[in-house]
């Protein structure tokens, strides 16, 4: 364990390495290939191979690199989510980038790099490893957000996202350095042990609290929790829609993976303190996200606020902090990945040659022109709202159950009332699609990749909704032992 590097450690990170190698190859291929869409297929291939490697590691539990990276079911579960999210995002990008006339090879390479960073985040049990994974993801994402070079909104979004992201990383680092100061180690279990000791002497140790607060603030930025959510609508609106989709599921999932490890291991001794903070943040995030979403008429902004509120729901799982709650976090993120990518896929399809397709009116009468797409969108929206028999209901059910089980009754009531509010704005989209007449602007562009992504999202949204057993089992297996 003390030995920092052993040869077999490499085996533990093969899926990540493979992605990095593929990403670099893509950059080289970019110079040779004229049809950039092919690079997308190569990237998909890279993700698939990474998935195969991951599959071979499925039963391995291993601590690599002297205890800074682990291979456990939790990491595995989240890595699968990242791969799925990345693959579906690439699938919906292929045609979209052509329309935006920004189809470049770097795009796919950056997605692979970001995914790689996330995979390290999911496995990190050391502050330094965690931070490097986080920054790899973040920097790739900053670039992707600003990928529409000629588009002012995209540039602005990228800049905002970068500045706030860098700022939040700074705060996060500040917290990390305090923790290092307390523990003299960057490993999560050492930090937990040191905090335990420290709190034994002084339960309200100011330095520990300071470390927790700054660390939490940094993480709240990443998951877009109120009051650190302001960047989200702008970044989501300005980014290329396919990247918005990617961010809203993968970046969010990665941040939660990090959060689970940090909160449930490293600063677990401070749990009584952080539960209070998380509960307040969760309530604010759900409520403000939902209320702000009501007035949006830009679908991208609307879904941005909705994704803020979803982060608020997921926090409930951590607040509950028991078996049910942590299962709920994983399960919800998995469900959210499929459902949300499905939703964004429809928004991506709205973008056509001369139509921006972001206003809620652009979906007017969609049902008349593309009945199947409209019905799929309906199902995804119902899933986001948590209406059975869609997957979203199972996710919400699990979170509410966790809250009730651990006696957080007020939180549960606020959460369910928020679920009701959210139905209002999801139904606004439904009204537009089904109950208004089609305009000239209404219409969708389809491409094979997009159709496939829609299909996969639909199948899983319904499957998890009707027969969730296998997925619950997966999510439950992912909970690290000892909670």
């Amino acid at each position: 364990m003390d030995q920092f590097f052993r040869m077999q450690d490499i085996g533990a990170i093969v899926p990540e390495l493979e992605l990095a190698v593929f990403g670099m190859f893509l950059l080289i291929f970019d110079l040779m290939v004229k049809t950039k869409r092919r690079l997308g297929y190569i990237a998909l291939g890279g993700l698939a191979i990474s998935g195969v490697f991951l599959y071979q590691l499925r039963n391995v539990e291993y601590i690599a690199y002297g205890g800074s990276l682990v291979l456990d079911p939790l990491a595995m579960f989240f890595k699968v989510i990242f791969l799925i999210a990345a693959a579906l995002s690439i699938a919906i990008s292929l045609r979209y980038l052509d329309i935006e006339r920004e189809n470049h090879g770097e795009y796919y390479a950056l997605i692979l790099f970001a995914t790689m960073g996330m995979m390290f985040m999911a496995g990190a049990v050391d502050l330094v490893t965690l931070y490097i994974g986080l920054e790899t993801m973040a920097i790739a994402t900053y670039v992707l957000v600003g990928f529409l070079r000629s588009n002012q909104r995209s540039n602005e979004a990228s800049m905002k996202y970068f500045l706030l992201g860098a700022f939040s990383s700074g705060i996060l680092l500040y917290g990390m350095s305090l923790l290092y100061g307390i523990a003299g180690s960057t490993r999560f279990d050492d930090i937990a042990a040191a905090l335990d000791q420290r709190l034994l002497g002084n339960p309200t140790d100011p330095i520990s609290l300071m470390a927790m607060i700054t660390l939490s603030a940094g993480i709240f930025f990443k998951i877009a929790a109120v009051p650190f959510h302001q960047w989200t609508p702008d970044a989501y609106e300005g980014a290329p829609t396919s990247i918005t989709a990617y961010m809203s599921v993968a970046v969010k999932a990665a941040s939660f993976a990090m959060m689970v490890r940090v909160f449930m291991i490293a600063i677990y001794p401070l749990r009584p303190q952080w539960v209070t903070i998380l509960a307040a943040v969760s309530i604010l995030t759900m409520t403000i996200g939902n209320i702000a979403a009501i007035t949006q008429s830009n679908v991208k902004r609307l879904l941005a606020y909705s994704s803020i509120s979803h982060a608020g729901y997921i926090l409930i799982g951590l607040i509950a902090g028991n078996d049910t709650g942590l299962t709920a976090v994983g399960l919800y993120l998995l469900i959210y990945t499929f459902t949300n990518i499905g939703t964004w896929a429809v928004i991506v399809a709205l973008r056509r040659k001369d139509v921006i397709g972001e206003h809620i009116d652009d979906m007017a009468g969609l049902y008349y022109k593309h009945p199947t797409a409209a019905v799929l969108m309906l199902i995804f929206l119902l899933s986001l709202a948590g209406i059975p028999p869609t997957a979203g209901f199972i996710g919400k059910y699990y979170l509410f159950a966790a809250a009730i089980e651990t006696g957080h009754n007020t939180l549960a009531v606020v959460a369910v009332l928020n679920a009701v509010i959210s139905v209002y704005f999801y139904l606004r989209i439904v009204v537009s699609m089904f109950m208004r007449d089609a305009t000239e602007k209404t219409g969708l562009t389809f491409a094979p990749g997009l159709t496939m992504a829609l299909g996969i999202a639909f199948i899983f949204t319904m499957w998890i909704g009707i027969y969730p057993d296998p997925f619950i089992a997966l999510a439950r297996r992912a909970i690290p032992l000892g909670f």
Binding site: F393, Y397, A412, V416, L427, P468, I472
Partner: protein
């Protein structure tokens, strides 16, 4: 046949879904085929539900019958568990009866987006049947919510001028209630293992794992702490009272009714509202007996306010459909009053009155729909003397008016009379209030009839109205037959209700059948 008998509830509940899936493959231009198919599915659905009535074992009508139990989400302990007792039997049959009639009534009324319309109707039917047959709380909740979506679309797409407002109001209002209901269910779900562990007889039957089995919750009822029951009762109350709807949660109802297409109103009034009362009967009363007793004053007060207020508001409505909608509020107040009298007469009357309300209000909405199709207005002031031009229609309307106001020989009388008797056993004033409600009910219904049907035709637009055609007569005749059947010979209905009702009363008031001499030794319609 054996297969059919073992799975009859599943087949009855899911036949409409199967029909809907087939329907999706039809060409949307071929409207006749779609109509014929949807009607056929509904009628077959009714026919295959009839064996329930004949095979139902009256000796054990308080036990769940036709039970099917299959594991579903094992990690949660949710099962596909269906079964019916006497109470759900009647409601299932009411649903399978009203479904085809509602669909048949839409033949001419729905001209655009026919395919989607019938698809949603079939989906709705399946959802409602699922609610009445579920014995697993999780399954129940899934059906309970699933049904919101088709109803939302029925109002929102095929509704009147303010359809969007009405549809979203309906959806949000009912969802608001249901999510609190869900929290109540969860609290019970987590309470069960602890109680089962302490009581071997429960553990023997239901195990000590977490479960959503409604019967298991019935079993732990005596061991739930009173204040715990209170909270759950309140959560359930919001969920169910909104659906009923009880005053002051009724405001979604007039909007939804007025804007919904005729068939939507029929289903809404006939079946959807019963889901709320059914919820009280199946869950609140037997699972939370202590809280039920504690909340009786509040429930009775709200019921009486509902009866009087609904009737008074109905009286002042210029719009026929809105009048019938508010009359629903009043009638459902009766149902709740009878239920919370918490004695056999009250409960029997309450359930019979639910069926009656489905029949007569369903019919009244059909009647209003018929006149609306002819004149495209529902303003009472636009009509007058219609009986001269539409004699058959006038007779049908008269019968249903009488049924609604509780004239003897018709169904309404039996329900109201039994409820008043039940109320009288408990408190004179409850009965007086109920009596006042009956009088007011007679007033607004007869006044409506007088203003629209009697006198001379004064509005030239009404001179050439066609009388009911064959299809319309077919839609309404089954309801007339039912109205007379229940009015003249209700014994078969009371027969299936007696035992389940006694069981509920015994749960809520264990001392009821022991001490305390009863005012009425014999109950109406009970077989001697």
């Amino acid at each position: 046949m054996d297969f059919f008998r073992q799975h009859i509830l599943t087949i009855v509940a899911f036949l409409p879904v199967a029909g809907m899936l087939v329907l999706l493959f039809f060409n949307k231009e071929n409207k006749t085929l779609i109509r014929v198919w949807a009607n056929a599915v509904m009628i077959i659905g009714f026919l295959i539900s009839l064996p329930l009535w004949f095979w139902f074992d009256r000796e054990t009508s308080d036990q769940m019958q036709f039970v099917e139990k299959v594991p579903w989400i094992q990690t949660l302990g949710a099962e596909y568990h269906v079964g019916i007792d006497g109470i759900s039997l009647l409601l299932v049959l009411l649903t399978t009866l009203l479904g085809p009639l509602a669909v048949l009534s839409s033949w001419d009324a729905i001209e655009n987006r026919v395919k989607e319309y019938y698809a949603f109707m079939l989906m709705l039917q399946a959802g409602m049947l699922g609610v009445f047959v579920s014995l697993d709380f999780f399954l129940f909740y899934v059906f309970w919510e699933v049904m919101l979506v088709p109803m939302y679309f029925l109002i929102g797409v095929w509704g009147g001028p303010r359809k969007l407002y009405a549809a979203i109001k309906f959806f949000l209002y009912t969802l608001f209630g249901s999510v609190l209901l869900l929290l109540g269910i969860l609290a019970l779900y987590f309470a069960f293992p602890g109680i089962a562990a302490d009581h071997p007889e429960i553990a023997m039957q239901f195990g000590t794992e977490r479960t959503f089995d409604v019967l298991a919750f019935h079993a732990i009822a005596p061991y739930l702490m009173p204040d715990f029951q209170w909270w759950i009762f309140l959560a359930f109350f919001v969920g169910f009272a909104i659906k009923v709807p009880m005053f002051p949660f009724h405001t979604w109802l007039p909007d939804a009714h007025v804007e919904a297409p005729t068939a939507g109103s029929v289903i809404l009034a006939g079946v959807l509202l019963k889901m709320g009362t059914y919820g009280f009967l199946r869950f609140s009363l037997p699972i939370l007996p202590e809280a039920t007793k504690a909340f009786v004053p509040m429930m009775i007060a709200l019921s009486i306010i509902g009866i009087i207020y609904g009737a008074l508001v109905a009286m002042m409505q210029p719009d026929m459909k809105k009048l019938v909608a508010y009359s629903s509020v009043s009638h459902m107040g009766f149902v709740m009053l009878g239920m919370f009298a918490l004695n056999p007469n009250g409960l029997n009357g309450s359930i019979i009155q639910q069926i009656n309300h489905g029949i007569s209000t369903g019919a009244l909405f059909l009647i209003v729909g018929m006149i609306y199709e002819r004149r495209h207005t529902r303003e009472i002031s636009q009509f007058g003397g219609i009986s001269n031009v539409m004699p058959v229609f006038a007779i049908v309307f008269l019968i249903m008016t009488m049924s609604s106001i509780g004239l003897p020989l018709l169904n309404g009388f039996i329900g109201e009379f039994t409820i008043v008797m039940g109320a009288l056993e408990e408190n004179l004033w409850w009965a007086v209030a109920a009596g006042a409600g009956i009088v007011l009910g007679a007033a607004y219904m007869l006044w409506l009839y007088q203003r629209t049907m009697l006198g001379k035709v004064e509005n030239p637009a009404n001179e050439k109205l066609l009388d009911m055609n064959m299809r319309e007569i077919v839609t309404i005749v089954p309801l007339i037959i039912m109205a007379f059947w229940i009015g003249l010979y209700p014994a078969p209905f009371f027969e299936v209700l007696r035992k389940p009702v006694d069981k509920i009363v015994a749960k809520v008031r264990p001392d009821f059948f022991q001490g305390q001499p009863r005012l009425n030794a014999e109950r109406v319609g009970e077989p001697r």
